[in-house]
């Protein structure tokens, strides 16, 4: 255990600061078309204008960004180093420099391509995706296939050199803005369900694609239905071998930031809640002076700290090449539950004004904390609902028997 910034790291921090001073000025930061951090963490909005692109290219070239991606595909190509990753995150945040894009393209497609794509596919897609020039949506879920994703039915039939795709995807985030979709489709209808799936890259401008927005519980409409009607996809746009799509889609992201990400969201929500308690007067008394509130804040802070330090532990395990076991499997369920609980306290602190909607100026913090409550459902359900997490923790983590599942 050593949490000191040794001289090497102090030096690294100085270097990063110097780099930022030269390449990201206060004027650059001020010109940011402000996206809420919450939206950014969900990957729906992030700055990708020319100035940001130019900056990201330089940062990657210096090894400060996309450190898990080889240089020839536009990455930083650095060995994993938890402390450097933390320093970079802190320093970038401090001057509001554009961070790595965390949307589904960079975080899910890129690692998949790096592991299973052809050289041509990597050259065509990786760098533009990292810079936000190609935006992606994830076409996995279907009306009949959610948790049981492998039961998906959207079909692809080979006709000459093209796959002809028919079916429907649902809950597809950002499908309207996306240039491309990475999708799972059934190519071998006779095979057992996990073995009949292939991984396809589909240009969203292809004829036969119809995207219809779905309005979310928070009033926004980031997710959509996507109907595919005889959509023709060139053969070369399959990633990995035919029928191997399930395995291909499981390539997990080992990037540094995936491990730090969740806890920092809980931390932001928590710090916001402390501030709220300090600034909100309820029945003539600042909420922070209420002893029950103080106690609840301390209880939540212990959990936030546990999430943060667990992140350090995972980073260290990954740097040492060790399997973190349970400590890694539990993070999503741990932080999403924690986020709900922080939000609920924020609402209690707002007292009766918690009934006011986000954006309402009369609400404490303009109702921002209530809005984040709704966002946490998205984090909890998307990418594996809580019960599915519990199955994984119970079965893979604790060695309990698998459910009978068909």
């Amino acid at each position: 255990m050593n949490l000191k910034y040794s001289e090497e790291y102090q030096h690294f921090r100085d270097e990063v600061r110097a780099f930022l001073q030269e390449n990201w000025t206060a004027a650059d930061a001020a010109s940011n078309p402000v996206a809420s951090e919450m939206a950014q963490s969900l990957g729906s909005i992030a700055r990708t204008d020319e100035r940001a692109t130019e900056f990201r290219k330089k940062a990657a070239a210096r090894g400060y960004m996309y450190r898990h991606v080889p240089r020839r595909y536009g990455g930083g190509e650095q060995p994993p180093d938890p402390l450097k990753a933390t320093i970079l995150q802190e320093e970038f945040r401090r001057v509001k420099a554009p961070p790595e894009l965390a949307s589904q393209g960079p975080s899910m497609l890129v690692p998949t391509l790096l592991a299973h794509g052809t050289d041509e596919q990597k050259k065509q897609f990786v760098e533009p995706t990292l810079l936000g020039h190609i935006r992606w949506c994830q076409g996995y879920s279907e009306p009949g296939a959610g948790s049981d994703l492998a039961s998906l039915r959207t079909s692809a039939v080979l006709e000459g050199d093209e796959w002809v795709v028919n079916g429907q995807k649902i809950w597809t985030s950002n499908a309207r803005e996306a240039d491309w979709m990475f999708a799972l489709v059934r190519t071998e209808p006779e095979a057992p369900k996990h073995e009949g799936i292939s991984y396809l890259l589909i240009d969203m401008k292809t004829p036969g694609i119809d995207v219809r927005p779905l309005r979310q519980m928070d009033g926004d409409a980031h997710f959509n239905e996507v109907f595919l009607d005889n959509v023709r996809v060139p053969r070369g746009q399959m990633v990995g071998p035919r029928g191997e799509g399930w395995r291909v889609s499981r390539s997990t992201l080992k990037a540094e930031r995936a491990l730090i990400g969740n806890a920092s969201m809980a931390r932001r929500a928590f710090d916001g809640t402390v501030l709220l308690a300090q600034q909100t007067k309820v029945r003539g008394k600042r909420a922070i002076e209420d002893s029950k509130t103080r106690e609840q804040l301390a209880e939540l802070e212990a959990r936030v700290l546990a999430a943060e330090y667990n992140g350090f532990r995972l980073l260290t395990a990954s740097a040492r090449g060790e399997d973190p076991g349970l400590a890694g499997l539990v993070t999503k369920l741990h932080t999403s539950t924690l986020a709900y609980d922080v939000s609920r306290l924020a609402m209690d602190i707002s007292s009766d004004h918690a009934l006011l909607a986000p954006g309402e100026k009369h609400a404490p913090f303009s109702g921002f904390l209530v809005q984040s409550y709704m966002m946490y459902f998205a984090l909890a359900i998307g990418g594996g609902a809580p019960n599915i997490q519990r199955n994984v923790i119970g079965e893979r983590g604790l060695g309990l028997p698998r459910d009978t599942r068909r």
Partner: protein
């Protein structure tokens, strides 16, 4: 940066675990806890032989000169096997001596390291008072007067280190075994593996160990971290026992671990527990290396881990059904330790309030 255990620390863990799995199985725990003092000198010597009692004792006094994290890793293992004996009070007294008077240090620490001497630490007063500024036990003219209602293993201690108020403020004084004016009454506690006594001092001669509230606070903080580590080890053991049970007990034609209700309860416990390990690791590390964070982290870790311990052992017993409620089945050993860990040095909400104050909220 490295947030993980060193090879030496992992070795300490595995050595201790192997030793305790052989020498401190539940049958042995029961024998010791049902004995008059719940202290087994053979077991104690065995632990001392593995270096447990000397982990933080300086090398020149016969110890290993290590840090609180190492000691907490030992507490974790002792908690996991529900080891009876005076580890906690002895450890707190050791820490009091580390920063105290050279004469007291040299007198006691070599014997502590070898396990020949067992010490205890007396801090709390009244009901729930662990604040060094509010102690009513007095030291004056070389003598102690006052009452300490919950002194761990006072009956076997060769000396009790007592936190009290002297003419110049709070401090710590040592009372030797057999000193005049000491009335010690063993109490019946829930946890049979860690005994407590009600101890009264009336004109008892005592020698100085350390002065100032900071010295007492440091001992308390170390104690809080050790309790958090004990809770972590105990809770993990309860989870593992329950997983094992769920893999073997059959009802409705299948092992109960195949029922999602059971599986998900266990998954929820693991989800709360596993990240919390990092919290007490950090608290222990901060104690030696990040002083400004040490007091708050000790308070938060103790409150959090002991709450989790209680929840874990509660589910563990429920998931065992009727057998879980029997005296024969071992789970209540940990249930009882959870009660001790939650209560000793003050309840969770007290430490959360302190953490809130310390944050400047």
């Amino acid at each position: 940066m490295d947030f993980g255990l060193s090879e030496e620390q992992t070795l300490l863990q595995t050595t201790l675990r192997r030793y305790l799995e052989a020498e401190c199985r539940p049958t042995r725990v029961r024998e010791v806890m049902e004995s008059e003092t719940a202290h087994d000198s053979g077991l104690w010597r065995g632990l001392a032989g593995l270096g447990v009692t000397g982990l933080m004792v300086p090398t020149e006094l016969g110890g290993s000169g290590l840090e609180l994290l190492d000691l907490a890793l030992a507490a974790d293992e002792l908690g996991r096997s529900s080891t009876p004996g005076p580890f906690l009070g002895n450890a707190m007294a050791t820490i009091a001596l580390l920063e105290g008077e050279a004469s007291a240090r040299e007198r006691w620490l070599p014997a502590v390291a070898t396990g020949e001497a067992v010490l205890s630490f007396a801090l709390g007063e009244g009901i729930g008072e662990w604040d060094a500024e509010r102690l009513e036990t007095r030291f004056q003219g070389g003598k102690l007067d006052g009452t300490k209602p919950l002194v761990p293993f006072a009956e076997v201690a060769d000396a009790i280190l007592v936190a009290a108020r002297g003419p110049e403020g709070p401090g710590i004084w040592a009372v030797d075994r057999g000193a005049p004016g000491v009335t010690s009454t063993p109490l019946t506690g829930n946890d049979l593996t860690r005994r407590v006594s009600h101890v009264r001092f009336e004109g008892t001669p005592a020698s100085p160990v350390a002065s100032g509230r900071a010295a007492i606070d440091r001992v308390r903080d170390a104690g809080l971290v050790l309790l958090a580590a004990d809770a972590s080890g105990g809770a993990h053991r309860c989870l593992e026992m329950t997983v094992q049970y769920a893999l073997t007990r059959e009802q409705f034609g299948q092992v109960i671990g195949a029922f999602q209700g059971v599986k998900h309860q266990l998954a929820n416990i693991a989800t709360d527990l596993e990240p919390a390990v990092s919290l007490w690791w950090y608290a222990a590390h901060a104690y030696d290396h990040i002083r400004e964070k040490s007091e708050r982290h000790a308070a938060l870790a103790k409150a959090h881990l002991t709450d989790l311990y209680d929840t874990t052992v509660r589910y563990a017993i429920e998931l065992h059904g009727g057998i879980g409620f029997t005296w024969e089945y071992d789970l209540h050993l940990w249930f009882r330790r959870a009660l001790f860990d939650r209560a000793f040095l003050g309840e969770a909400s007290y430490h959360r309030q302190r953490a809130a104050d310390l944050a400047g909220w």
